[in-house]
């Protein structure tokens, strides 16, 4: 029941064909939780370190940070970020943070 209630939030959110939010500014932490649940990930404090950093960088620069910038700037290592966001951390983390599909090479 709780799970359904969480995912209901997503009915009012617009996604592109690849599952990324169309409008990053419409994102809220609750929406992030729901997207993560849809991806099969239960968010912990460590996930939030990455998500919050990605959001901050996006608000500052208008684009999501590269994975390398995340691992260089936060205390989350490459190994850890791959454990936190299985199935491709660049895509999965950007999706949960409500940001567009990452285009960087690093």
């Amino acid at each position: 029941m709780a799970q359904e209630a969480t995912l209901d939030i997503l009915n009012n959110v617009e996604f592109d064909d690849d599952g990324f939010m169309v409008d990053p500014n419409a994102w809220t932490p609750e929406i992030g939780e729901a997207i993560a649940a849809r991806e099969g990930i239960e968010l912990t404090d460590r996930h939030w370190v990455v998500i919050n950093f990605a959001r901050q960088e996006f608000e500052k620069n208008g684009q999501p940070p590269t994975l390398r910038r995340i691992t260089k700037t936060t205390d989350v290592s490459t190994k850890e970020i791959y454990k936190l966001f299985p199935g491709g951390p660049a895509k999965v983390a950007a999706k949960i943070a409500g940001l567009g599909k990452p285009t960087g090479c690093i």
Binding site: T66, L67, R68, R69, T71, S77, T78, K79, Y82, P86, G87, G88, P89, A90, K91, V92, P102, C105, I106
Partner: protein, 162 residues
């Protein structure tokens, strides 16, 4: 997920046969990009490519100034000047600086990063025998593999030769 519609995960196997600085980056960048987007990746280093994973050489790779028609972004120099002592070192230094500006790590660090990301790193047994190298000479975590074993491992993967 595969983009071909089946349920097997997509997989990339790259054979790295060149050991110059400019040829070290393409396989590392592709393997890293693959892992970032959830694609499996393996790197098989053979012949001069072994320099990329040899501890004593990986951070001293050079770019050729002679016989390289693509030197123009750094040097507008003809090959005859490129043969002068120190030209290759200078060009390599400049390329390293440009790579660093783009926030790409040096080769050794990049290799560690792609391995932390789950990329398999393998040295070609035959080339290693030829160059008198053992597993101890290679970056930690690299394994030695024969050509047949590599082909077995690459089954179903998209294979690139660099």
């Amino acid at each position: 997920m595969s983009q071909n519609g089946d349920s097997k995960p997509r997989k990339l196997s790259i054979i790295c046969s060149k050991g110059s600085l400019d040829m070290a980056y393409p396989p590392l960048i592709l393997a890293n990009a693959a892992r970032m987007s959830g694609i499996e990746a393996d790197l098989f280093f053979t012949f001069w490519g072994l320099d990329i994973i040899t501890k004593s050489k990986m951070d001293k790779l050079n770019v050729a100034t002679v016989g390289n028609p693509n030197m123009h972004p750094w040097f507008h120099i003809p090959s005859i000047i490129g043969i002068l002592p120190g030209m290759s070192a200078a060009a390599s230094w400049m390329m390293r600086r440009e790579i660093d500006k783009l926030d790409f790590p040096p080769v050794g660090e990049f290799l560690e990063m792609v391995m932390d990301a789950g990329t398999g790193v393998y040295g070609c047994k035959m080339s290693m025998d030829m160059m008198k190298l053992t597993e101890k000479d290679l970056v930690d975590g690299a394994k030695v593999l024969g050509a047949m074993e590599f082909l077995e491992m690459a089954e179903g993967a998209q294979v690139l030769f660099i």
